[in-house]
């Protein structure tokens, strides 16, 4: 039976392409994300069972929708729901039947779903996990591992958040024009958080399992908001970061810092995609935080064509970004760029203003940056202390080994 692998591929593709669409459609009509999820997961289980035997249906999305709808009905019947719920369900069934007859098909209500996941009533830390679960159907255990949270805790948080979705508190639709741009920011932040998770631990987002899914969400958002330049920002950022990932380890698996990466190992097609996105966004002439961050990446990859990145441009971009965000992390990156432009001492002076930031005390990149600048400036003892702090805060063993070798090099000086 050579159809089986093809059928499995079809189910997997449907899960990625259609899961969020089907969920948005069902949840909006039955008023419960949880019930829609259960029905959909039954439908996908049925697909895994039936498609290898019966063949992949001509319209996989329709097949999944019809199956999920049956499951929803069964459940409602079992639970003896009140008459109004049945009425809503009948309406959903009519909508579904109509949607399947129309050439446009189901339509795409995923944008509303993304906005609901990043609603102010959802705690900020749960927004990215919620998107990954309701738009892509990723299970809580995988999300928990990527976000460094106990799986039982992550499940609880997701269940609590989903109880709010589709209720009166959080409707599953795109907010009105007046709230759009402020609400869009939280959507963008959550998508980027799904990619970078918590980057405070000297870890490598590429290796953390959900980077591909986050990139896909970024692409979806950029497609759904073609007239919002900022919506292209996170996608461009993620493309730049992914493009560089083949160069982040050498042949022996050792970590290679950005400065020393072999540019011929960067993925130039991904970089081209990022540059095109950034240009398209820039042409709309409404700059924002994510476009600025993507522009900084662009200035870094300019090293492909010239000996050094354009440090002057990078510092100017960080100035603008810092004025907009006031973030100590941005201030840290700006100080490191200043150190490249005007020398390590200038970088250290800028870092000195951040020494009291409590958030940076356990922030690995702060200590790694301080260690590097101190070493270049010839402040050997502070460099040793900062390298040790960075080593003690690092999660990724290859980054830890890299810092250890830098510390060892200092000791021999």
């Amino acid at each position: 039976m050579n159809g089986a692998p093809a059928a499995h591929d079809a189910v997997e593709r449907a899960a990625r392409e259609s899961y969020g669409k089907l969920l948005a459609f069902l949840a909006r009509r039955c008023g419960s994300v949880g019930a829609a999820e259960d029905a959909l997961s039954d439908a996908f289980a049925a697909a895994l069972e039936r498609w290898p035997v019966d063949g992949v249906p001509r319209a996989p999305e329709a097949w999944l929708l019809v199956t999920a709808r049956h499951r929803l009905f069964d459940r409602m019947r079992r639970e003896r729901r009140a008459e109004f719920v049945f009425e809503r369900m009948r309406q959903a069934a009519r909508d579904a039947a109509k949607a399947l007859d129309e050439p446009a098909g189901l339509g795409d209500e995923r944008l509303g779903l993304l906005f609901a996941c990043a609603h102010p009533a959802i705690p900020a830390a749960v927004r990215a996990p919620l998107m990954l679960q309701v738009v892509l159907g990723i299970d809580a255990a995988r999300i928990a591992s990527a976000f460094l949270v106990a799986p039982a805790t992550m499940s609880q948080r997701l269940v609590r958040a989903k109880a709010k979705l589709a209720s009166a508190e959080i409707p599953l639709h795109v907010p009105p024009e007046a709230d759009l741009s402020s609400r869009l920011d939280s959507v963008l932040e959550a998508i980027y958080a799904a990619f970078s998770q918590d980057d405070s631990n000297g870890n490598d987002s590429r290796t953390r399992g959900l980077a591909v899914e986050a990139l896909w969400l970024g692409g979806l958002l950029a497609d759904l908001c073609p007239n919002e330049p900022e919506a292209m920002g996170p996608l461009a950022l993620m493309e730049y970061a992914t493009a560089r990932s083949p160069a982040r380890r050498d042949a022996a698996g050792r970590y290679v810092p950005l400065d020393e990466q072999d540019v011929s190992r960067w993925d130039s097609t991904a970089i081209e995609r990022a540059e095109t996105l950034l240009e398209r966004a820039a042409a709309m002439r409404r700059i924002g935080r994510f476009q600025l961050e993507a522009a900084i990446h662009s200035a870094h990859v300019a090293r492909r064509f010239r000996f050094e990145p354009d440090w002057k441009a990078i510092v100017t971009l960080y100035d603008d970004l810092l004025a907009r965000t006031g973030s100590p992390v941005v201030a840290l990156n700006r100080a490191i760029a200043l150190g490249r432009l005007h020398g390590a001492r200038a970088g250290l002076d800028a870092l000195a203003t951040l020494a009291a930031e409590s958030r940076l005390q356990t922030y690995q990149p702060y200590w790694a940056g301080l260690a590097h600048l101190s070493a270049v400036a010839g402040d050997l003892e502070p460099a040793r202390i900062a390298y040790a702090r960075a080593i003690g805060l690092t999660i990724d063993p290859s980054v830890r080994h890299f810092l250890e070798s830098r510390l060892a090099r200092l000791a021999s000086e």
Binding site: L148, V149, A150, T153, D198, N201, Q361, T362, A388, R389, I391, G392, L393, T394, I395, D396, P397, R400, H401, E404, L407
Partner: protein, 120 residues
């Protein structure tokens, strides 16, 4: 809140480790301990002697005692040390556990320490 981090690692790996790797590993643990201290999160910890030095003791309902050589659980990785840390919540405790060098060579179990019942 106090949490205990139980460090489980392969003793065999440590026993056969070349000297320079051993130096580096010890340095990583020292750096980790220092990072905990500087963050005000360190509340104690120790290395344990090898599991072959362990003895496991039980007393039956009839008072009969049994003492066996070796650790309580016979697994591929052995309990080799622990940290007690102060953290505001389980998420923070898990983040500290991930930074522990043992998390990338073996496994770290994180458990909240139950408060002592107040004596009456």
């Amino acid at each position: 809140m106090k949490y205990i981090l139980l460090l489980n690692d392969e003793e065999k790996r440590w026993a056969t480790m070349p000297n320079d790797v051993m130096q580096r590993e010890m340095g990583a643990y020292q750096a980790y301990t220092k990072a905990l201290e500087e963050a005000g999160a360190y509340a104690g910890g120790n290395r344990l002697e090898g599991s072959t030095t362990a003895a496991t003791v039980r007393v039956g309902p009839d008072g009969r005692t049994s003492v066996l050589d070796g650790p309580y659980a016979d697994t591929k990785e052995q309990l080799g040390g622990f940290y007690v840390i102060e953290a505001p919540d389980m998420d923070t405790a898990i983040a500290w556990a991930a930074r522990c060098p043992c998390a990338s060579s073996g496994a770290v179990e994180v458990r909240p320490i139950a408060p002592m019942p107040v004596a009456v």
